[in-house]
Amino acid sequence: MTTASPDAFRAETRAWLEANCPPSMRTPMAADDEATWGGKKFVFRNPEAKLWLDRMAARGWTAPTWPSEYGGAGLTPAENAMLQSELRRINARPPLFSFGLWMLGPVLLEYANDEQKQEHIPKIVRGEIRWCQGYSEPGAGSDLAGLMTKCEDKGDHWLINGQKVWTSYANHADWCFCLVRTDTSVKHEGISFVLIDMTSPGVETRPIKLISGDSPFCETFFTDVKVPKENMVGRRNGGWEIAKRLLQYERTNISGFGSGARLDVVDIAKASIGTDSTGLLEDRDLRARIARHKMNERAYALSVQRATEEAKAGANVSHMASMFKAAGATLNQERTELMVEAAGSRAFGWGGEGFKTDELAVTRGWLRAKANSIEGGTTEINLNVVAKRVLGLRDTQ
């Protein structure tokens, strides 16, 4: 893929997408539940979604920059940027939403041994296995390293006992990447990173109902769960480094939520409030706040682009993940609040015939976004990270 000239690559990509992206995959998603998450339990309600996933996965374009030996496309960052811009050009939906793609895959590529990579990465690329993240516990939220889920060495296997919480879509997942305690005498240095098959005896999940009415998160219980020895990634007690690395990917990704093709606050406001004879939004105060938000969104997108370029040029920008996570959460909440305000009473529906799907999506999206500043590290924790690691502000100097 690196031999073609940039123009040829773009032209070929455009032609392929034109021929292979099904029509219904070029429309904005009306609601979150139209996303393809893959995995053994996933039911495709739209056959074109499956077609789109399979075609993209076959080219490795669900994970364009991953090495081709593990099913990726091995694209250079420049080629990937072209692919993404071509996807945006036709408003293509992402073929696959996946914690495997966003979080686990990148750390497996970095920390896993070759058997583990061969076993797990191609299935992530193809959307065959859906992963969930076993991080937070009832007693370990912001203070993640305080986790207590026990992992004992039983000779030919690990034995796991404990409870996780806020496990996103654990009830739909096939496998879980999980932080466990292998040494209770130390804190960060006693944590290991294991991969657990959710069909193992002793695994139980219970969905938690949220203010949005949805249950994206679960409680996950592990009772005498046996895990094969080869399922530990990295060394025993070496999991915290992997955990932190994965959080950087997670934070970058959560902060990217809401940047996809979705309902636009300007369209909602124009329809709901109206415009004057020159096309300006009638509510001038709201208009100014929307304009400010639009600029913030632009500033954010430009900053992601700048960080990407700087990373490519060899700069270490990993510390920026916390800044992006906090800023992205704020932006998404700002956006969804403005949408509710712009929609007026049309955003106060909860169900039934009186409200349209789009309107209900605004309401649910607004409530869902409240989690953005809590999940994957609260905004406060991320600001702590920026203050300490980036600015060097500490308790004592």
């Binding site: 500033a299 203050a387 502000l393 308790d395």
Partner: protein, 375 residues
């Protein structure tokens, strides 16, 4: 679009940082203020001219360096860091851009080399009220022989007290607020009938109100269609000023975070207190976002992007908001010492408010951005 800097641009930035650190630290502004020079610092301008800064965007054929807008923006960032007081934005950005965009070949030939050498200092005289409003033009231009004479008043002309060449908006037809009928003119600083009323300003840079009474002037660009040209010139002014403001905000922030690491209360450095840590972390985020906007806008100028107006309003609005926040927090986080004249914090605050309003503040540019985006 790219955020990457060329080797030449990096070199320019580094040498500018070194220059302002050695030759134009804030103490220099303090000194010119204490000596009641009201922003006049001929030696500094001469030194900048020797480095070729006034001619950074001027093509080589007209005696400049032809290094483009990113190059000039990087230098403005650095001069902003120490509040270096010189007519660099007015001349190197606004004057040069005005002639490049609207000048006839003869006008370019006459004025651009003088600008590039630092011999001419230009100023943009366009406001007629206390708020930025480029179409509010009552000043009148009347044809007289081969040229024009101007009558009217212009307020708060940045660098107007030292300029040798003015770019003035006046009306060749239409009524006040009508974008049609505005024409830009070049007016010599020593022209008969031009009176300057020097303003002693809070940022210690000085400015002037200008009164024009039957002043000879030559049109810059097409007569009657100056509003569009002015908008283009202003967008360059806004982006250049945003670069200066970014540098200023970055320096104020660095000064503040250093203070947080050294000032002790309750037996510990105050930077250990979360109430301050979080505000500092948020400022850092705002600065990074604004930097991206400013750099992208400069790059857009070099690429001759079709949407310069959007880039300019984005950069200026973001720079104004960020500098407002950072300059206020600089005072607050320094506590009592920040309120004293002996500390530099006050210089940053005072310049901040002037720069925020100049060529349009946050509300002006939000309104403009929304309009450009169709709402």
């Amino acid at each position: 679009m790219t955020f990457s800097l060329s080797e030449e641009q990096k070199l320019l930035k580094d040498s500018a940082r070194e220059f302002v650190r050695d030759r134009a630290p804030v103490t220099r502004l303090r000194k010119t203020r204490d000596e009641k020079k009201n922003g006049r610092d001929d030696d500094l301008w001469k030194a900048m001219s020797e480095l070729g800064w006034p001619g950074i965007i001027v093509p080589e054929e007209h005696g400049g360096a032809g290094l483009g807008f990113v190059g000039l923006g990087l230098v403005l960032e650095e001069t902003g860091r120490t509040l270096a007081t010189a007519p660099l934005l007015s001349t190197a950005m606004i004057g040069a851009a005005a002639l490049l965009l609207g000048g006839s070949e003869a006008q370019k030939k006459k004025h651009l080399p003088a600008i590039a050498e630092g011999k001419a200092i230009t100023a943009l005289a366009i406001e007629e009220g206390a708020h930025h409003n480029p179409t509010r033009v009552a000043a009148k231009a009347t044809q007289s022989g081969p040229g024009y004479v101007l009558n009217g008043c212009k307020s708060y002309v940045a660098d107007g007290h030292t300029a040798s060449l003015f770019i003035v908006s006046a009306r060749t037809s239409g009524t006040a607020h009508d974008p049609k009928g505005i024409t830009l003119f070049l007016v010599k600083g020593d022209a008969k009938g031009l009176a300057r009323h020097e303003l002693v300003t809070v940022d210690s840079r000085g400015a002037a109100d200008i009164t024009l009474t039957d002043v000879d002037a030559e049109p810059l660009g097409t007569v009657g269609e100056g509003a569009a040209l002015l908008d283009q010139i202003l967008d360059r002014a806004r982006i250049g000023l945003a670069a200066e403001m970014l540098g200023q905000a970055e320096a104020a922030f660095e000064m503040t975070s250093e203070y947080l690491k050294t000032r002790k209360q309750f037996g510990q450095v105050i930077g250990g207190f979360q109430a301050l840590q979080h505000r500092a972390a948020k400022m850092f985020g705002e600065l990074e976002m604004t930097k991206s906007c400013v750099r992208a806008a400069l790059d857009a100028l070099d690429r001759n992007d079709a949407k310069i107006a959007e880039w300019a309003s984005l950069a200026k609005a973001r720079a104004s908001e960020t500098l407002h926040l950072v300059s206020s927090e600089t005072i607050q986080m320094h506590g009592g010492i920040g309120m004293t004249d002996a500390h530099d914090a006050g210089f940053y605050l005072k310049r901040a408010r002037v720069a925020e309003a100049l060529y349009g503040g946050e509300s002006f540019h939000r309104d403009r951005y929304a309009r450009l985006q169709g709402f």
